[in-house]
Point group: C2
Chain length 226, copies 2
């Protein structure tokens, strides 16, 4: 095997891992949003969260089909990420409707930022797909309005929800770290290897800074300290 094909085989493995974690992330997001929709105070609110869930499922099918198009098995590609993503959701089960809304908005935002950063390292088709599925579907304006209205109605909830937002960020980082430590192909793509391009360590630091700043902006938009 020449060095070129070795390198492209590694890249392909990394792309499939990335699509796998994204796909499983989307279908669990579907499930959790549908679950959280049960706590909605009105049918309109329920429908708004359900619409977000539906968008996640449509993203799932696009990612799954891309994995198949690359000649890989979607179930196998998703398998390594079932435990860390399920654990993220178990550790961040919202206690009420407002926590569910904040999780939908903040969780979606962190995931979108991370994948957009990583997508820069992919082939054009996979990159465009990831940018497409992570594009804000406009549903989140509903969350911002609802959370701000709740804080206006009862300023005390802001403290609780701010803590909740910090916990979401902490759990997301801890599961991301776990995934990176266990998945060689993915982390090699991130940090690069002798022959393939990747982030260097300074760039990884900058990437996490950008993601943290974007998170703080989202919290501020909700009216919450971060």
């Amino acid at each position: 095997m020449t060095e070129g094909t070795q390198e492209s085989a590694e890249m392909r493995a990394a792309v499939i891992e990335l699509l796998g974690v994204l796909a499983y992330g989307e279908i669990t997001a579907f499930e959790r949003l549908a679950e959280d929709a049960k706590m909605a105070p009105t049918v309109d609110d329920k429908a708004a969260l359900a619409a977000m869930a539906v968008a996640e499922f449509q993203h799932y099918t696009m990612l799954r089909d891309r994995i198949s198009a690359l000649g890989a098995d979607p179930a196998a590609a998703m398998d390594p990420f079932i435990v860390p993503l399920d654990e993220f959701h178990v550790h961040t089960a919202p206690a009420d409707w407002l926590e569910g809304l904040v999780k939908a908005y903040v969780g979606d935002g962190i995931a979108a930022d991370f994948y957009r950063e990583v997508a820069a390292h992919l082939d054009a088709v996979s990159r465009d797909l990831i940018v497409e599925v992570q594009r804000d579907t406009g549903h989140s304006a509903f969350v911002v309005d609802a959370v701000r209205a709740a804080i206006e109605h009862d300023p005390k909830v802001a403290g609780r929800l701010a803590l909740w937002g910090r916990r979401l960020m902490g759990e997301a980082l801890s599961q991301a770290q776990r995934v990176a430590a266990e998945r060689d192909a993915l982390s090699t793509m991130l940090v690069g290897s002798g022959t393939s391009p990747g982030f260097d360590l300074a760039e990884i630091g900058q990437m996490f800074n950008r993601i943290t700043e974007a998170h703080q902006k989202r919290m501020a938009l909700l009216g919450l300290a971060s």
Copy 2:
């Protein structure tokens, strides 16, 4: 008010009630299918049930928009049906993945038959919409295959699932009866009044016969006694 406008006001009220029960039925179906998807043995199975949930949500949005287009408030139109439909789901919570599949298939089928029968009495736009949202989306072939495979693998499950199918039919009829007893406009549309067309009692009997026969055919297709 002339007799003609009186009659058309009654008809409009009945149409809005019908669209209201359908809309709330669709959004609860979305919720329950998404909930039941959690019991899926594989990610593929989960995605198949999630796809059925997504189709139900899309139907919900079409029905809600039609209620608005008729100048009525969707939330108010759905309100009377929250209790009976929620009770139907509480009384028929599946104990496992197979019961969830049978409920998805049989419940969907009974609802579709009923609404197709009633749709004949509606204005053309509402009728076409109801036929459209109740059209089999093709997802149910997945249920038939999965249930038949499970019975082949372990013939004992057929007895339990056959009982489950009868219970679903019983609960559906008992909640339908409750709705008909409480909603004057809907039941007037069904049985007709002095001036407006409707089913006569013999026709209602025939309608229930047709729905029961269709249910028996679906159970047979699943490999279950009814």
